[in-house]
């Protein structure tokens, strides 16, 4: 049973989402945007099944997930906000970070202006499914000129008690010249099939800045789909970093609409795929206005039988003079059975723009490996040094701070190169 307010407009929105999802069905690999991503794990899953009314989660569990250097933390358990597990006391007055369901109850018109408006469900099956079945999510409202100093962490935890799918809907509204850094962390139990289908809508006012590190580290049986979409005001800046570590199949898509002059976005990411994982990244940058800038860097380290995918589209619309767009995807294959699919593309309808894209797929450089070995460094360390150096190219875009440093360590640990990282830090 939904806990949401039963406002007629919301009911209509959800009914529309449901109708659209039923008409579209699950995305198939015939659709260009989904060509590398297996949604078959979702077939037959009752995506609309109600989740548990209340889920229990130890405080210790949350403490173990938390990153250092974050000033506050909002916790969602099985898709619903947990006030008792959250720690939001340090937020400045006037800044709201918490439950979307609560915001819908308290000030529905404020939410209505953005919900479903930044990321419409038309033609987007998984967004439509989320619209149909979300019953909570993150609500962020940062008023004009407010700056939240220090990163705020948002944990989305799936428990053993969860239903087959959760649909968190996050709505982030930053007023004029507002500034915020968020770290999303997605996690869940190992050895269990479950689905997360999240949508994050971002409305950035003029001159606002949002930095968002999105850390997907779901359980090994999870299917994770997360679509982020931003509408950007004049001179606003969006920086997303999509780190994909977990899940059986995980997809993070970002669409940035640079709709006003001077808007810029940095969409970066790193995916570490092993075993039989399929990790998918899809981006769309839509340059609709003059003097807009975009930068993209996605790195992939792919081992075993895993598959890493990147599809990136950059549109430069008519009239978007002086647009400056760069898009780069680099993949490192660690096994002959590993696969990288890379598809960057540019669609340019205007002259007088700068745009570049590139992609590489390669293995560890034999010459570099031999150079390290010839100096007495062991084969394991030599590999670790080179793999970490590759990952650090992407990780350099995570930004500063203890939380970023902790994420670099988590990556190094997953790559088996933590000792290398520690020794590097000593010498830095």
């Amino acid at each position: 049973m939904s806990r949401l307010t039963t406002a007629p407009w919301l009911g209509a929105l959800k009914a529309e989402g449901r109708a659209r999802f039923e008409a579209l069905g699950l995305p198939s690999t015939k659709a260009e945007a989904w060509r590398y991503f297996p949604t078959r794990a979702l077939r037959g899953v009752d995506l609309g099944a109600a989740g548990p009314e209340a889920s229990a989660l130890d405080a210790d569990h949350i403490a173990a997930l938390r990153l250092p250097g974050t000033i506050a933390c909002a916790v969602f358990v099985d898709g619903r906000f947990s006030a008792e597990r959250s720690d939001l006391a340090a937020l400045p007055a006037g800044v709201t970070i918490g439950s979307l369901a609560a915001a819908l109850a308290a000030d529905p018109e404020r939410v209505r202006a953005h919900l479903g408006a930044v990321a419409p469900s038309e033609g987007a099956a998984m967004v439509a499914a989320n619209e149909a079945w979300f019953d909570d999510g993150l609500w962020v409202d940062v008023p004009a000129n407010a700056a939240v100093e220090g990163p705020v962490e948002v944990l989305f935890v799936t428990t053993e008690a969860a239903g087959p799918a959760t649909h968190p809907r996050n709505v982030l509204v930053l007023g004029r010249s507002a500034e915020l850094t968020l770290v999303f962390g997605w996690s869940g139990p190992a050895g269990r099939a479950y689905a997360t289908n999240a949508v994050t809508e971002i409305a950035l006012g003029d001159n606002a800045t949002l930095r968002l590190a999105n850390v997907e580290d779901e359980g090994d049986g999870a299917t994770h789909v997360h679509h982020l979409q931003a509408r950007q005001g004049r001179d606003s800046t969006l920086k997303t970093f999509s780190l994909s570590l977990g899940g059986e199949a995980a997809r993070t898509s970002v669409r940035a609409e640079l709709g006003a002059p001077g808007a810029s976005c940095h969409l970066d990411g790193l995916y570490l795929a092993g075993g039989k994982q399929r990790l998918d990244h899809y981006t769309e940058v839509d340059h609709q206005a003059p003097h807009t800038q975009s930068r993209q860097y996605y790195g992939g380290v792919i081992d075993d039988r895993a598959v890493g995918n990147y599809i990136g589209l950059v549109f430069i619309r008519e009239g978007a003079s002086k647009t400056d767009a760069q898009q780069l995807n680099k993949n490192l294959l660690l096994a002959p059975t590993a696969t990288a699919n890379a598809k960057p593309s540019l669609e340019i309808d205007h002259d007088d723009v700068k745009a570049s894209h590139g992609t590489t797929v390669g293995q560890l450089d034999e010459k570099s490996l031999f150079y390290l070995l010839s100096r007495g460094i062991s084969p394991e360390d030599a590999r670790g040094i080179l793999i970490l150096a590759f990952a650090q190219d992407a990780l350099a875009r995570l930004g500063e701070g203890a939380h970023a440093q902790a994420l670099v360590h988590r990556v190094a640990a997953k790559l088996g190169a933590e000792a290398v990282l520690e020794a590097e830090e000593i010498m830095a």
């Binding site: 150079y371 010839s374 100096r375 007495g376 460094i377 062991s378 080179l386 150096a389 590759f390 830095a428």
Partner: protein
């Protein structure tokens, strides 16, 4: 120190070294001279354990042990050092980190304690001074964006830090201007000693005016065709290699 006996090596099925025999005694600086394609770099690579070289017959003894039985990193730890003709750029890895990892791997193998960061950096700075290397290069990425001379100085720096008993210098002089050549040669000469041998592989006699060898060996078509003292290098400079080709064919 080094005893190579009737060594035959092929690359992709093609014989390159065809019965090379060479003896280097402790403390000796031996020059290997030869024209392009004679097998000089193959010799350097086979000694260092690079993949892709097939030893079809013959043996290499290094300090009495079978060098060919060791992996590349084990050879380095045992005391073989190759100064590369083309030092490799490794973006994302700092020179200081790389060299400390190497030094400590070698030290542990030799039963010495690891150097902590402070002790290592002190040593590194001193050695950098000796090869006239800009101290800023310590923090830079390994060889990335280094000039030709800086890369070669970096090789000699690594050699000084790793303290090998056999140093193989593969065309260390090629492409260097005279200042860089002098700095590199001074660095090498400072490392000469009774317990260290050097194999100086070069195409040009010029280097041997700065690093004066005890012996000169001529490598032609995969074999040592003649050996002599340092004056042989001068003779080769004047007469070229053609007058030796008859011997190679014989």
């Amino acid at each position: 120190m080094l005893s190579i006996n009737d060594l035959h090596v092929s690359v992709a099925g093609k014989p390159i070294l065809k019965g090379l025999t060479l003896e280097v005694v402790p403390g000796e600086v031996a020059a290997i001279m030869g024209p392009n394609g004679s097998g000089k770099s193959t010799l350097a690579h086979v000694l260092s354990g690079k993949a892709g070289y097939e030893v079809t017959s013959g043996s290499i003894l290094f300090k009495g042990q079978d060098l060919l039985a060791l992996e590349a990193h084990e050879r380095a730890r045992e005391g073989v050092f190759l100064a590369f003709q083309y030092p490799v750029e490794i973006p994302g890895v700092s020179n200081a980190y790389f060299l400390r990892a190497a030094v400590n791997a070698v030290r542990v193998h030799r039963g010495l304690e690891e150097l902590d960061a402070v002790a290592f950096l002190k040593e590194m700075r001193e050695q950098m001074k000796r090869v006239k290397m800009d101290p800023k290069l310590a923090k830079r990425e390994v060889n990335a964006g280094f000039s030709g001379g800086e890369k070669k100085r970096n090789e000699i720096l690594q050699m000084a830090m790793l303290d090998p008993s056999l140093a193989v210098l593969d065309e260390t002089d090629s492409g260097l201007d005279i200042d860089a050549l002098k700095a590199v040669s001074d660095g090498v000469n400072a490392l000469r000693g009774p317990n260290r041998s050097m194999l100086v592989i070069t195409h040009y006699q010029r280097l041997l005016s700065y690093i004066v060898p005890d012996k000169v060996h001529v490598l032609l078509d995969g074999r040592i065709v003649t050996s002599g003292g340092k004056e042989l290098a001068l003779e080769l400079e004047e007469r070229g290699y053609d007058w030796l080709r008859g011997d190679a064919a014989a």
